[in-house]
Symmetry: C2
Subunit: 394 residues, 2 copies
């Protein structure tokens, strides 16, 4: 193996890693194509290796080392020196959210347990994560809920704030911290929708070698619903719960994040969205940090009330092979989005993240029929129409 500088980060972290936000990029309706996300699924811990282009100078060519499995969950994945700051409070929040979402899912599923498929990992220098997967349960065919905490170093090119420094002064690699929760829940019943959510917090240190270049932090995340069939009351309930969470903080949040979500989950080659949206935001740092921490907490806590009542209502609805085949076709679209467009997934695959964790977002099964076109006016057609022409649900 060639000599490299080993730096700590996880594959999930890679989703956040290359591009920190520029202050002006917040609330752009189309996220920049180079942005990276703590998205799809957070991953097992591992480390990044930067292969120096010049000795001790710029670094590129990322690859990832294997994580270290743990038999028990530690109280925190943070480094010892860190206390009750935003990092610690965000970790606490996402770990509580993981517990409460998993508990709610197990309570409904009855047949499936997450604990049979829990993977815990850590790293001596700090950081780690917990992956939980429930597969082939009574209600869900595949449900993954992951948290991770990562320490790493980003290449200087990624640290946009360096622009604030004199042009002839460029920072060296910038240490960063990232933590997030990420989940995809695929039910069996074709009338019960898939849910995806993830919430993430990111910090960089201030580059020590460039006076005036600031420390950065930001929040990102979202919750979105992907049904195969539309029940207006379900979609309204889901979007209303998102709006309610948003409105507690800023009346502009829901409309902006709803549009951002519709724009992000776009399957360009199909001209349609993956599902019926929800909220999505990234690079959020131009609000009070405490306020945004509370907002992310509110969003994560809204997952259960937004989703579980819909599942309770639809999980036992009788269905035919026709309904199941349509759900499977829509699952095919989910696969297309995640493998072709989702930045977290595509970045994770390219940089050598833990594949099983990255691809836990894929459904247990999916289907592709040649030139399938739902009959105009049918229930399938209505779903497709809503994916092509995003609607205001509330």
């Amino acid at each position: 193996m060639p000599p490299t500088a080993t730096l700590s980060a996880s594959s999930s972290l890679n989703y956040l890693f290359p591009i920190p936000p520029s202050p002006s990029s917040s609330f752009t309706s189309t996220p920049s194509p180079t942005s990276c996300y703590f998205h799809s699924c957070t991953k097992k811990f591992s480390s990044l290796r930067f292969k120096p282009n010049k000795p001790n100078m710029t670094r590129s060519a990322v690859s990832i080392e294997k994580e270290t499995p743990e038999t028990e969950r530690p109280i925190t994945f943070l480094r010892e020196s860190e206390g009750a700051d935003v990092r610690a409070r965000f970790e606490k929040m996402i770990r509580e959210a993981q517990d409460s979402v998993c508990a709610a899912i197990e309570a409904v599923d009855k047949g499936g347990k997450f604990k049979e498929k829990e993977d815990v990992w850590s790293r001596p220098g700090g950081g780690g994560g917990i992956s939980r997967v429930l597969q082939d349960g009574a209600v869900w065919e595949k449900a993954g809920v992951n948290v991770s905490v990562v320490y790493g170093v980003m290449p200087p090119e990624a640290y946009r704030a360096a622009k604030a420094a004199p042009a002839d002064q460029k920072p060296g690699p910038v240490p960063f911290f990232a933590a997030g929760i990420s989940s995809v829940l695929h039910p069996k019943n074709p009338f019960a929708p898939t849910l995806h959510f993830n919430y993430r917090y990111f910090e960089t240190d201030a580059p020590q070698d460039v006076p005036g270049a600031p420390r950065q932090w930001w929040f990102g995340g979202g919750t979105d619903l992907t049904p195969a069939y539309i029940f207006d009351e379900d979609v309204k309930h889901f979007h209303s719960t998102q709006k309610k969470a948003c409105d507690k903080f800023d009346p502009t949040f829901y409309p902006r994040f709803k549009k951002w979500c519709d724009d992000y989950f776009y399957i360009k080659h199909r001209g349609e969205r993956r599902g019926l949206g929800g909220i999505f935001f990234d690079d959020l740092n131009d609000y009070d940090q405490e306020m945004l921490l509370s907002f992310a907490t509110e969003c994560a806590n809204s997952v259960v009330p937004a989703y579980i009542p819909i599942i309770e209502k639809r999980k036992d609805t009788p269905f035919t092979d026709h309904h199941k085949a349509w759900q499977q076709l829509r699952r095919g679209r989910y696969v297309e989005f995640n493998l072709v467009y989702d930045r977290g997934t595509t970045f994770g695959l390219k940089t050598g993240g833990r594949i099983e964790s990255i691809l836990v977002s894929l459904p247990l099964s999916a289907r592709w029929e040649y030139d399938h076109k739902p009959e105009e006016g049918s229930e399938e057609w209505k779903l497709l129409d809503a994916c092509i022409n995003p609607k205001e649900w509330i």
Copy 2:
């Protein structure tokens, strides 16, 4: 719509389009990452639009217009002025191969017919294609066999031979011709393997504005086998048939093209190949043109004897849910390769090709289980091992 120069090409053509071969690139074992292929599936006809960067000068930003459906197959898709040259003979060859492969498949399948799903299209300026799909037959769950003929213009950046011209003289857009056959055949029985093949011929005109820059032509293609379970005799038969076709022309062909195939169908994030390979080549122009036309013809004609005997032997083998689930997991790998790595597919999706034709290569259904690991020494493990460590089968 902004003013653009409308240029003729099909989405399938896009697979060929951006990068013509440089003489030195033939037989590289790893195809260049920017190469494009007439791969996966040939597509419905449409046109390219280049958005000029500078008026009447360089062009980029490709997008594709819709094709014109036809009710009948024309005798030829070539322009009237063209006669009995390589273009015409290659078109004749691929159309005959389409007929014979489809006839062989229908004869075995009995339950399914291609003709119910035939799409013919053309373009007034010349070019067109025929897509045939058999879906949910008795033996195959999805089988697509497509041919297309395309006239287009490639941007000057893609015409590498311009390097032969003085550095200060760059050609304008270079007219090209492309024709190919492409097919993916996914059987139902988990012991019956998937087959993919495609053969393509490409020509450019000599750039008229750069004296000395030559007319170019080249051949590409391959045939590869993707079983879920290994029967040594099947894989040996398949590879032997490929070798026999190769050996008629050059004893170096089979070993080189076998390795090229193993290298091309590599799912990097899994560290494994999609299947058990076969042959693959591209940019082939440093042999006699007549010889290569005969070689491509021989390869196309070898598809039926290489594949159909295996299907006859395995199509009715009894199987369990366990076998079917493993086949579905391997189909998931097929989806991963095609959506993440296959150049034809990814290029087609990005440039707005006919989606249903591009994605006809995807299986009818596929499966992803979290952290699935076949038991060591099992039949599933043996297949996986052969995908991770390519073997010499003959």
